[in-house]
Every structure is written in structure tokens, then in C-alpha cells.
């Protein structure tokens, strides 16, 4: 079947989708967006968390056909999404009553073919090493906070946690520790013991508070 939906503000069309495929499979294997991770395929780990019409979901539990005509935001689109939200008073999609620029108008996005460039050519992922204290312009505040707080180790849980944490801070800009733990309880991390993730979310909330 063919599935039409919007991913990170860009209309996408996936062809030859087998009915049993999940949204996660279509994102990773058909649209060149492997940022959402597959760690359990059972909705237990949250590594594949994306936003579907604004709501965080495990994309492994969403059948591809279910997303027809809907809007998906993945970790790859998180920075743009956060930027749009900041520019539109807390609403990234323009669907909150204000008429904003749609993501697609604002930035055409990376053509999916380019993203395939990660193919088996090795990667320069560990090059370009600086001492790492300057903020990266193309990151969402929550992404920068994860880096700064040491919340990233192996990083496999990171994309899902970022999407979930960003959504929580959108709803609840001043979360208590218990609020943070509750909101992120669907995201497993095996490396960090969660302490630095707590630090990162607290840091992002504090920076968000300062910016207002």
C-alpha cells in the first residue's frame, strides 16, 4: 500500500508498504530517518518515541497505515520543531489557534536520499572534536541540555528520551522531579542510571525559564 503523511514538516509518500509494517519501520527503512531506534518492538523501552499529531507514541506500536494524513515529528525534526515553537509562543505546528508558518514553509528539510549517506562508508562521527562547550546552533534546547549534562552515553535511548522530554517541557515548563520521572517512565536507559537525564531535563527547564 501507499502511505501519505507529514514527517518533520515535510510531506512524505511511502510506496510498497506491507500492511504489517510499523511506523518505525517506514521511518527507518523507507524514509531514511533512522534516528528513532528499535530496541524492543514491544512498546516497553520508548526508544522509538515520536510525536503523532503532537502526542508522544511508540512508533513501533503504530501500524504504518494508521498515520495516513497525519503529522509525525521525529528526533531528526526536533530542533526545527522547538524553534517553531519558540517563534510561535509555544505552539510548533501552528495548530494552537495562532496562524503560523508551517514547518514545511519554514524549512524544506533534508531530502531523504541524503540521509542514506550514512550507508556503509564508515562515519566521521567522532571527528571534528572541539573542547565542546559552545552551544550548537542547530540543536533544540533539550538536545543541548542532554549533551551538556552528560545525559548521553551509548545514546541509543537518547532520541526517544529527547522527544518525550521535549513534549513534557512543552506541557509542564516547571516540572518537579517526580513529574520528570513520571513523564519519562516509558523510556528505558541502561547506561546512565538516569541521574544525568534528570539533570539534563532540569537544565533545559531552567534555561527555558531564563529565556522567557
Amino acid at each position: 500500500m501507499r502511505v501519505n503523511f507529514t514527517v518533520n514538516g515535510r510531506r512524505q509518500e511511502a510506496d510498497d508498504v506491507w500492511e504489517g509494517e510499523s511506523l518505525l519501520y517506514v521511518l527507518r527503512e523507507r524514509l531514511g530517518l533512522p534516528g528513532s531506534k528499535n530496541a524492543c518492538e514491544q512498546g516497553e523501552c520508548g526508544s522509538c518515541t515520536v510525536r503523532l499529531d503532537g502526542v508522544p507514541v511508540c512508533s513501533c506500536l503504530v501500524a504504518a497505515g494508521q498515520v495516513e494524513g497525519r503529522e509525525v515529528v521525529t528526533v531528526e525534526g526536533l530542533a526545527d520543531y522547538a524553534k517553531q515553537r519558540a517563534e510561535h509562543g509555544g505552539c510548533a505546528t501552528g495548530a494552537c489557534g495562532t496562524s503560523g508558518t508551517s514547518l514545511e514553509d519554514a524549512r524544506p528539510g533534508v531530502p531523504p536520499d541524503e540521509a542514506w549517506g550514512r550507508a556503509a562508508k564508515g562515519q566521521d562521527s567522532q571527528t571534528g572534536e572541539g573542547t565542546g562547550s559552545s552551544p550548537h546552533a542547530a540543536l533544540a534546547p533539550i538536545q543541548q541540555a542532554f549533551i551538556d549534562a552528560g545525559a548521553v552515553q551509548c545514546g541509543f535511548c537518547t532520541p526517544g528520551l529527547l522527544v518525550a522530554a521535549d513534549e513534557m517541557l512543552e506541557r509542564n515548563p516547571n516540572p518537579t522531579d517526580a513529574d520528570i520521572r513520571e513523564a519519562l517512565s516509558g523510556n528505558l536507559c541502561r547506561c546512565t542510571g538516569y541521574e544525568k537525564i534528570m539533570d539534563a531535563v532540569r537544565l533545559a527547564a531552567a534555561r527555558q525559564g531564563e529565556a522567557v
Binding site: 516497553e44 556503509a120 538536545q143 549533551i147
Partner: protein, 794 residues
């Protein structure tokens, strides 16, 4: 009070930013937060196929027949392979003992053993085709414990053993046995005023790294193959893969792809050979990605163990002796079992001074899932038992459990049961003192003006209590872990360091084969290069087999050993750079030949701080490159009869205090706080140090209260291979983890550092158990503790 150690002093590089001791940020942090970092499961290649493995549905059986016809006839399937398709002479692999068949040959020895492999153009096609392979099994009796393994008429898990342990084991179903005997236990036992015995059970823990086993094999034009893989040790994989493919190692090229955690679970091979076989058979790139279900079958687990302990002590609180026997279930294949036995036996006494010991550790061959390396590696199981014993002894003597431990704590100069002296700081008593001195979390934290916040209570959002029946308990534990590979292993690492001018700036490039699995080795390598070479820009080359081995990302060894290799290579590069400087500029300033010279901030300076030249000028038209192996001090094998020998190179110590609240009616546990104090020698990257300590602490928490692979004792089948049924701690299960870091230099190690990754995993579990015992008054001789153990309904 005599000094227990001193911190490291650094001269070279102390004025260069981003070096040793700073919390520099991960070089892969941006890519990991944007989703661009390419993990092994993200690899993609034009025209690639998907591989799938068919695994045994029974634990122990003869294979009567395999019919692949229907699978092969499935549209989209390119290849189906079984044992009969293996063309090389070598058909087994293994870390130490090559006892593991690449594909089952006539027999399967555990549930989930690979029997056949399929390549197809869609992963679902491959899965369905694999399901169409018909395997007829004739089931054999299952060996599941020590009694069934060592019975005189026991079926042998491996009929034709010829490994180097078979000569000294009491039964062919015992992989390895290590006794350690020292002093006179019978005489020491006479001196004891109290004797405490215990029998302890440690459940099977899974590494549960989040990124499942995966990789991409691409056939090369020369008949070889290039494997992009998530592993802990590229060169160990290479040594095992090439012979089974019938290729020289030079034709198997390996590049590390992104690794989604490891914790020991990637020491053994998983899908590496299978992907290469299918790629070579089909001539197409083949990707294999396990799902979580398969991952539970696709890697070894932590050895479950039975531990029998007897300690004695005098009325004034001094330990007299230790008798113990540790039985580890190694499962169907050897994996790292022999080394785990060595650790369990040599560290079975814990961080305590005991002169008279009678110790035995064995690992069994059974038809249970194979067990091998996991963070803590044999020391974890022992720590659970000896710390329970310490609490029992203290209780029997009417002493404070921390005071009792401090009275018996080892220190620098203590002789280990192996006869090896502890020759670097061992601040065991100090760590206990520190962890006890930390402020306690306030009582009844769940109370708020709006009533009980159930999120802070046992049972959480299940809303099972508002404080009724909730009892607080506090427990302490301390542990000892060896750092690096022990027992005479040639444990080296290789580093290639290049220095040149790029874009008008001096740049160092560090190339090693170290597996970055999340621990932050890439961060540390850059810091070392900055400190040793006085530069700002460091490029970390992707890890591959184009450079010599970096050893395993295991045993808390990488910052020590590969870090040591990087430091060493940088020092040699620095010498050459200074030599070039002397040649070019030596005549301009006498300090070039008379002063001690340093590289700082991109310049050559004297130790007094006078600038002699810029590195850009020194390196103009030149580049310097060094590749060198580096070794830590050699260790010795342990005597097979007495266990004597200088088996370890370094130890790592951590202590925990656990504060728990238990709903004693429902048996639900909430860990409120897990405070840790650890000596790290030198905190090379303080932020990463905390990350290791907190992460290790929570893995210890997991096996205290929830994590266990359940194997049916009748069938040896795994009952809970999913994250629905095998629980790891969520952020709601996890407490705050305050950490007190001590930095006492080990003069034998680079920068005085100590391997840190594993020690916190040891003491966390017994501290939580001790706290639950305090809260409930129950004996609790097994871990993990489940509600039924606390309510008496088990």
C-alpha cells in the same frame, strides 16, 4: 592517621584547555542527540539483503533432519545455510575455548542455539522463510544444575573435550575449577568466637543493552568481506571470524559502527559470522538485526550462582577465616567462564584482610543459556554473598555493620588470598566512612500539603499505599573488582597518534581500535592528546582493524590500557616534535637544549613558561606519526592447586549506602537513595566518572529487586525473553545517587587512574538487599528479591 594515598600531579599539559581532569563533552554528543549517529542497526547499503537466524526450540536434542526446501523456494529468499554449507575446516568459535558451533552440528545444547540462516530482500520475508525450515529434534535429558551436571551417569554436554582445563576438572561437565588455599583454616576456625554460614543464590542477569546485536557484511572484490559491527573488541572478533570463513585475517576488514551499550554482552560473537557467511554466499551486502526477543538468546548472560560461605570472627570483631564454594552456571558453551571462575575465586574474600582461607570456584557446563561476561564479571556474585555474611557476623557480635567492616577492611599492603600484596591505595575503610557520613534523605518524603504523592511510595502510581505498612531500611556494602585482564593474559593496547598542521592549526589525530560502547573512551582519548601534546584540536579516527588491537572494552580497562597506549604514543610524538624543534630553532635559544620543554596551548614552552616556538612553525612541512603497543605490568596465572599467584594488576573499590522503603504488606520495594563513594585514582573526565558510577549502581539495583532471566528447570527453556517480562529499572524505579569521588593515585597506572566502570555494580546489590533485610527482618539469601519473597508467599 597515616596517609592512605595522594592525588596525581600533572606537569605537561596542565596549562592546556580540555585536557585530563576536565569534564569535556562527548565528541559524538551532537550526532547522538540529532539522530544522525549511525549505530550498527542503522547501516544501509544499496541492494542489501536481510539475514535471519533460525534457533533451536529445545534445549538439548539431536538433530535428526533439517529440511530447507520450502524456505529456499520462498520468493525473495537468496540463500539458506546450515552446518553442511560451512566450507572451512574451522566450524567452531569461542573466546578462550572454541566450543561454540557457528551453526548446530547434529546436536543443539541450549534453547535458542543457531541452526540455520536465511538471507532475503525484506526482513519479514527472511523471518517467514526461516520459520518454514523444518528441523526434527530427538530430545535428550537436560543438565540444569550441579547435581545433574556432575552425577556419575550425567550426559556430557560436550562429549569430546580437548581444552586445556579438562585435565584438572573433577567432571567433564565442569568447565574450570579454581581452588585457593592459604593459611590454616582449621586452626583459625578454633580461634573463632562466632561462626556464620550462609547459602546464597544469585539469579541470571541480562546485560540488556538497548541497541540489539546487529551489523552489515559487505562482500569485497578480492573475495574478502568488510564487516560494520557493534562489538567490544574488533580484533578478538576478527581472530574468531576469519578461520570460519576460510579467509586470512587480512581479507576480513572490520569497522566499528555505533554501539548501543555492551556491558559484557558483546564480548562473544553474535551475528558476525552469520552475516559474513550470507554475504559471501550471495555476493550481496547482508544486514542482520536482532529484535529484543532474539537478543535474549543471542548473547551470554551473567552467570547465575550458588554460593556457600562460612566465616568466623572473634568477639572483638576480627575475621578469623573464610571457607567458601562458588558454583557458577556457565550454560552450554564456555564463553568467558574460566576467567569468571578466576575472578570469583580470587575476589571471593572481598575487600577484607583474611589470612586463612579455603576457597573453591567452579563453572558448570549445562543446557542452560550460555553465560559469560557481564559488568563485574564473577566479582558481583561473590560480593552479594560476602556482604550478606558481614551483616550476619556484625549482628551476631552485636556490632555496627559498618564498624565491623572497617575493622576488617584491607589496606595498602594487605596480602590477598592469592598471596599477592595490594600495592596501591586501598581506601576501603575511608569509603565506608564517607558513604556513611553522607546526609540521609528525609523521612516520609511522599507527604505533601495535598496528601501523599504516590510516585514517591512503593507501588508508585499503582496507588497501593499512602504510607501504611511502609518501613524504611538502611544497608551498607563495599566491594573489590580487579581492573584489566588477569591471570597472565597479555593485556595490551595499540595507539597510533599523528601530529600535523591542518588549516593553520596544530592537530593531533588518535587512531585506535577501541570499541566506544558509550563509556566515553573517545572523549578521554582526546583529553589525553590535548594534555600530552598541548593542542586544542584532536581528531578521533573511527575504530577499525587498520590499526593494532586495543583489547576489549571490558574489565574497566580501556582508560587504563588504551588510554595508557594513547598517552605513551603521544609522549613519543612529543619527543619527535621537540627534536624537530631543536633541529629547526635550537640555535636561536639556549633553552632548547638546557630546559625541560613542554607543549602547551599550541606552543613549545619551557617549564618556566617561556615560549620558544609555535607548534605550527615547528611542524611546518612535517608530520609526526607513532604507532605503539602498550602493556600494563604483567600478571601471573593462578596455581591450579593452591590458587597462589600475582594474578591481578589493579583493584577498584566502591561502597554504597542504600535507603529503601518497603511496603511490608505487599512486598513492594522503593529504593529511596543509593549513595556511593568510590576511589577512582584520577577522575580523567569527572562527568563521565559520575555517569559510570551511577549507571553501574542502577544495574546493581536491577538485579537486587527485579532483573532475572527465568529458565524452566524441567526444560531449560527461557521463559521471559522480552522487556515486558524481563524488567530493568525505569527512571521511576531509580533513586537519587549522590556520589563521593576519592582520587588517590595508583603510581603504577597512567595518571594514577583506576578503572572505574565495574566496582559500583558490585556493592549496589548487597547494599539494597541489606536495607531490605533491615526493613523486613527477613534473611533473604537470594537476589533478585521479588514481592513473594517479602510476603512469605514464594
Amino acid at each position: 592517621m597515616p596517609t592512605i594515598g595522594t592525588p596525581t600531579k600533572i606537569t605537561q599539559g596542565s596549562r592546556t584547555k580540555g585536557g585530563i581532569g576536565e569534564s569535556t563533552l562527548r565528541p559524538d554528543g551532537i550526532l547522538k542527540t540529532t539522530g544522525e549517529f549511525a549505530y550498527s542497526s542503522d547501516m544501509w547499503h544499496e541492494d542489501m539483503l536481510w539475514g535471519q537466524i533460525l534457533r533451536s526450540t529445545v534445549a538439548h536434542a539431536e538433530i535428526v533432519s533439517i529440511d530447507t526446501g520450502e524456505a529456499l523456494a520462498t520468493p525473495g529468499v537468496y540463500a539458506v545455510m546450515t552446518y553442511d554449507d560451512l566450507t572451512a575446516d574451522v566450524k567452531n568459535y569461542g573466546l578462550e575455548i572454541q566450543d561454540t558451533p557457528v551453526l548446530a552440528h547434529g546436536k543443539v545444547r541450549h534453547h535458542g542455539e543457531p541452526v540455520a540462516i536465511v538471507a532475503a530482500d525484506h526482513p519479514e520475508t527472511a523471518r517467514r522463510a526461516a520459520a518454514k525450515i523444518k528441523v526434527e529434534y530427538r530430545e535428550l535429558p537436560v543438565i540444569t544444575d550441579e547435581a545433574s551436571a556432575t552425577a556419575p551417569d550425567a550426559v556430557l554436554v560436550h562429549e569430546h573435550r580437548d581444552d586445556h582445563h579438562v585435565g584438572h576438572v573433577p567432571h567433564p561437565n565442569v568447565v574450570h575449577r579454581q581452588p585457593i588455599v592459604r593459611g590454616d583454616v582449621a586452626a583459625a576456625r578454633e580461634r573463632a568466637d562466632v561462626i556464620v554460614e550462609g547459602e546464597y543464590t544469585f539469579g541470571m542477569q541480562d546485560q540488556a543493552f538497548l541497541g540489539p546485536e546487529s551489523g552489515l557484511a559487505v562482500p569485497d572484490e578480492d573475495g574478502g568481506v568488510h564487516l560494520y559491527i557493534a562489538t567490544q573488541w574488533l580484533h578478538s572478533d576478527l581472530r574468531q571470524i576469519a578461520p570460519v570463513l576460510g579467509l586470512p585475517e587480512s581479507k576480513v576488514r572490520m569497522t566499528l559502527s555505533g554501539v548501543g551499550g555492551a556491558f559484557g554482552g558483546r564480548e562473544d560473537l553474535s551475528m558476525q559470522i552469520h552475516a559474513c557467511l550470507l554475504a559471501l554466499r550471495t555476493g550481496k551486502p547482508v544486514k542482520i538485526v536482532y529484535n529484543r526477543f532474539e537478543s535474549f538468546f543471542g548473547h551470554v548472560h551473567r552467570h547465575p550462582a550458588k554460593l556457600y560461605y562460612e566465616h568466623g570472627a572473634t568477639n572483638d570483631g576480627k575475621l578469623t577465616h573464610l571457607k567458601c564454594r562458588i558454583v557458577l552456571d556457565g550454560g552450554a558453551y564456555a564463553s568467558a567462564s574460566p576467567a569468571v571462575v578466576g575472578n570469583a575465586s580470587s575476589l571471593s574474600v572481598g575487600p577484607y584482610a583474611v589470612d586463612d582461607v579455603d576457597i573453591e570456584a567452579i563453572a558448570l557446563y549445562t543446557n542452560n543459556p550460555p553465560c559469560g561476561a557481564m559488568r563485574g564479571f564473577g566479582a558481583v556474585q561473590a560480593c552479594f554473598a560476602y556482604e550478606a555474611q558481614m551483616d550476619k557476623l556484625a549482628a551476631k557480635l552485636g556490632m555496627d555493620p559498618v564498624e565491623f567492616r572497617r575493622l576488617n577492611a584491607m589496606e595498602q599492603g594487605t596480602i590477598m588470598p592469592t598471596g599477592q600484596p595490594v600495592d596501591s591505595p586501598a581506601p576501603v575503610a575511608e569509603l565506608l566512612r564517607r558513604v556513611k557520613a553522607m546526609p540521609m534523605p528525609p523521612e516520609r518524603q511522599w507527604e505533601s500539603s495535598e496528601g501523599a504523592d504516590v510516585r514517591q511510595l512503593p507501588g508508585g502510581l499503582s496507588n497501593t499505599t499512602h504510607g501504611e505498612g511502609v518501613v524504611r531500611g538502611v544497608g551498607y556494602a563495599v566491594g573489590i573488582k580487579n581492573v584489566g585482564f588477569s591471570e597472565g593474559f597479555d593485556d595490551y593496547s595499540t595507539a597510533r597518534v599523528r601530529m600535523e598542521v591542518v588549516g593553520g592549526e596544530p592537530v593531533a589525530t588518535v587512531h585506535t581500535a577501541m570499541a566506544e560502547v558509550g563509556q566515553g573512551g573517545v572523549t578521554v582519548h582526546a583529553q589525553i592528546a590535548r594534555t600530552e601534546l598541548g593542542v586544542a584540536q584532536v581528531t578521533i579516527h573511527p575504530a577499525d582493524t587498520q590499526v593494532g588491537s586495543a583489547g576489549s572494552t571490558s574489565a574497566s580497562r580501556q582508560t587504563y590500557v588504551t588510554g595508557g597506549a594513547v598517552k605513551n604514543a603521544c609522549e613519543l610524538v612529543r619527543e619527535q616534535v621537540l627534536e624537530i624543534g631543536r633541529r629547526k630553532f635550537g640555535t636561536y635559544h639556549p633553552a632548547w637544549s638546557t630546559a625541560e620543554l613542554l607543549l602547551e596551548g599550541g606552543k613549545v614552552v619551557t617549564d618556566g613558561g617561556e615560549v620558544l616556538a609555535g607548534l605550527v612553525d615547528v611542524l611546518e612541512g612535517e608530520s609526526v606519526e607513532v604507532e605503539q603497543e602498550w602493556r600494563h605490568r604483567p600478571t601471573e596465572a593462578l596455581d591450579l592447586r593452591t590458587g597462589q599467584g600475582n594474578g591481578h594488576v589493579q583493584y577498584s573499590f566502591a561502597a554504597h549506602r542504600a535507603v529503601v522503603e518497603v511496603d511490608t504488606e505487599l512486598g513492594l520495594v522503593k529504593v529511596i537513595e543509593l549513595a556511593c563513594a568510590q576511589d577512582v585514582g584520577k577522575a580523567v573526565n569527572p562527568l563521565s566518572v559520575l555517569g559510570q558510577i551511577q549507571g553501574g549502581t542502577v544495574q546493581g539495583l536491577g538485579v537486587a529487586v527485579m532483573e532475572e532471566i527465568i529458565v524452566d528447570p524441567e526444560t531449560a527453556k527461557v521463559q521471559n525473553p522480552s522487556f515486558t517480562d524481563y524488567l530493568i529499572p525505569t527512571i521511576l524505579d531509580t533513586p537519587t545517587i549522590p556520589v563521593d569521588v576519592l582520587e588517590l593515585a595508583d603510581d603504577h597506572a597512567p595518571y594514577g587512574l583506576r578503572g572505574i566502570g565495574e566496582a559500583p555494580t558490585l556493592s549496589s546489590t548487597p547494599a539494597v538487599l541489606a536495607a531490605i533485610r533491615t526493613a523486613t527482618g527477613l534473611e533473604l539469601n537470594r537476589t533478585p528479591v521479588r514481592p513473594e519473597h517479602l510476603t512469605g508467599t514464594a
